[in-house]
Every structure is written in C-alpha cells, then in structure tokens.
Symmetry: C2
Subunit: 108 residues, 2 copies
C-alpha cells in the first residue's frame, strides 16, 4: 500500500487527474481518440451532449497545457487549427477506459 504524505508528488498528480477528470476533458479525449485529428468545429460537433464554445476553448487550453492534446495552426487564410492527442495520451487512454468501464458497472 502506498504511503501518502505531503512530501510525495501526489499533489501534482491529483491536480492532473482533476484536470482530465472533468466531464468535458474526458469527452474531448475520447472524441479525439475516436476521430483522430479534428478541426475545432468538427471536434465541437462530435462531442456528445453539446458543449459551449467557451467551455470547449477552456477545456482544450487546459489539455494542451497538460500536454495531452496537440494544437496545430496551419497558416492559411482563414487559419486552419487542428487538434489531436499527443503520444503520451496513448498510454493514458487504456486507464481511462478501465475507469469508464468501472463506473458503467458501479454507477448507481
């Protein structure tokens, strides 16, 4: 059993889980997993349930800062902006799917 105390790096870990543990962050990650690279508008359209522009922008910002999502801007007119998962997210997704499977079994 893992000992937890204030000198373990648990706190950054918890902050990061809190980051991708938000409902919208999870849905963004799963939508990009399913569709691969997506432009902003297509990403928004493919997120189930409907997400506001503001919430999607904030969620993508947080995911980009955590290094979970890559944002590429192509210098076209108008600029094309595409989002995709980063390589490190590939190793996170199996754990997120385990977590989703657990909650689907145990949610009341």
């Amino acid at each position: 059993m893992k000992r937890i105390s204030s000198d373990t790096p648990l706190s950054p870990a918890c902050r990061m889980i809190e980051q991708f543990g938000s409902r919208w962050a999870l849905l963004v990650l799963l939508t990009l997993e399913q569709h691969g690279t997506l432009r902003y508008s297509a990403l928004r359209r493919n997120i189930p349930g409907g997400i506001s522009e503001r919430m999607l922008a904030a969620t993508l910002d947080g995911l980009e800062q955590s290094g979970l999502v890559d944002r590429t801007v192509y210098p076209e007119v108008p600029p094309r902006v595409e989002y995709r998962l980063t390589p490190k997210t590939a190793s996170l997704l199996p754990i997120l799917h385990e977590l989703l499977a657990w909650t689907e079994t145990h949610a009341e």
Copy 2:
C-alpha cells in the same frame, strides 16, 4: 474502439469520474485506504496538505452519495461518526493507483 454518442451511458460515468476525480475526493479515498476506518477528526488530520472542515464535509457527502464511502454513526454521547471505504471502492482503487502512477510519470 468504443463508440461514444449521446445514447451511451457515458454521461453518468463521466459525472462519477468527475466526482472522485477531484483532488480532495482522491485524497480522502487514499487516506481511508491507508488507515481503514477513521473518525472524522482523525480523517481530517491524516489528509496531506490540510483540508477545510467545509471542504471535507462536502467531499465526504459526495463520496457517500456515490456509494464510495460508508458513514456509520454510533449513538453515543457525543455521537461517534466513522468513515470507511465501501466494498465496491476496493475494485476502484487499483485503477486509481494506475492513474496516479501514470500522472507521476507524465506530469510536467
């Protein structure tokens, strides 16, 4: 690959992940895992980083409603209140530890 759409039970699953994905909820679960049954005051003392009374009460409330934590009140004077993980939480903890291990490796 799992298809996501608005008719899958992803939404309750996401809400539940959001619930235990909060920093304090995670710390409560890990503290109860480490110490077993704890009274409110001992639980609060053992949570690293310091948690306010109000935040701990709200976190425990949410975890109890999700069926992740059991609250037992012993009719003594003054009443003794004890918290422990529920049996279903036992199957969640290995996944949470995987998630923590992942974030410890990948947090920047």
